[in-house]
Amino acid sequence: MKTYEQINDRIESGKAVVLTADEIMDYVDRQGIEKAAEEVDVVTTATFGPMCSSGCFLNFGHSKPKIRISEAWIEDVLVYSGIAAVDVYLGATQLRHNDPANMDYPGEFRYGGGHVMEDLVAGKTLQLFALSYGTDDYPLREIRTYFTIDDLNQAIMVNPRNCYQNYNVAINDSDTTIYTYMGCLEPNRRNASYCSAGQLSPLLNDPFYETIGIGSRVWLAGAGGHVYAEGTQHTGDCDRTSDGVPRESAGTLALTGDMKQMRPDFVRGVSLRGYGVSLGLGVGIPIPILNQDVLRRTCVRDRDIFAPVVDYSHDYPEKTGRTICHVSYVQLRRGEIEVEGKKVVVGSISSYFKALEIAHLLADEIRRGDFCLSKPFAYLPRNRASRPLVVRNSSHE
């Protein structure tokens, strides 16, 4: 048994033993669980992939004369300004003004909110255009100016949903190509795509949310961030294996961090043909090895994790709830899965390569004493199901 304080003391003295989630299993196999639980302080987990429910609050500071922004665009991408005078929220999936979207199907979606976030973190100069109706205290009615992230008072990433615990494998049962947020799916199950770092993914290493909770410190694209709430659509009450590993998407995290400290390699605009824009984001989460149970759960391997194969031509859009079958991450990583007797090539939209890089970067920061852990002050709900949107015909129904 170890406490957060003991682990942080070891980190601060530069003595912490830190392994990544893809190294820990072999280590435990060699040392035995008892000895390993005493020796290891932290296991680092990570993921990198498109995370649509991401965005940031920006504060521009006041112009002379002042403006109370009522509508605004950054690089022609609309930002939400229904908050205080010079605060805006930029969302990852917002399209650029005049993007033809899917009018010329499948649309290219070359630039949008996620790309603005990438450019912002990369230190590029961006254009702000804002309008106002004018008030006695904020008389300016229009502004066009250029800025970089250094000119902003704050640039705080605030993401309502990141780090899905597990995810669907998307496949296309129809006889035409479809374009989805899981990429281009060819007809008649000719290919499939998945999106998870599997054995390296944060919530798959802490399936019951014992250490990752509200207040946990996380590595968010290179900046120190934290979990500020359960993620939207968090569904702790889900189908699980006998070891407790979710067999469907399950838990999610709401994350925040200072964009001024982020690294551009881990904040990347995403263009999905025929679908839209998003943000590719890198997240690392340390798991404190408090006891043998916590350690045992970080030893999850790809062979222990199963993802549901779902048809995105009919079952997903129509919300039929049908799952074709489950496949393990060992099969997915091999690049070929078997679906009802047919071999299907499979690609990933989540980058294991980058997740591994993040797990090592975070491990190095902890070993150097630069990243301490924090105990969650509230836990994520474990027994709550997700609700559908009921379409009612009147307000009294």
Binding site: F48, G49, P50, R110, G183, C184, N191, S193, R268, G269, V270, S271, L272, R273, S278, G280, R333, R334, G335, V345, V346, G347, S348, I349, S350, S351, Y352, F353, K354, L356
Partner: protein
Amino acid sequence: MSKTETKKWMLFFPRCECEQPIVYHLVKDHNLVVNVYRAKVTPNEEGYLVLDVTGTEEDIASGMEFVKTFRVTINETGIGVMRDEKRCTHCGICVPHCPTGALSIKDNKTRRVEFNGEACIECLECILVCPYAACASAF
């Protein structure tokens, strides 16, 4: 008879040379077997041509000399599709879409996506599916 070999070329045609029947002469006068991957050669515009030429070393050399009599630039790497290593996140979404395995994951431990330009047939599928615009065409 000396052994035949295959070279991949990318030819750049400036505007003034776009109407030259170069491929015809490579076949007819220099005994080369030509396999065109991709071409965009339009009258009054600049043009590109990516092709394989197969023949003896001497025939390939004489074909190349012939091409050089025009103001056509030969890029002997013959690669018209590039992968920008810095933009690539190595997610691997392109891998099942690549028909020749030019984009592949060789090491399952690191899951790094490798690009082998020699195996690329320039179908441009990767450019359409890459979410990070890591693949690009010279034309």
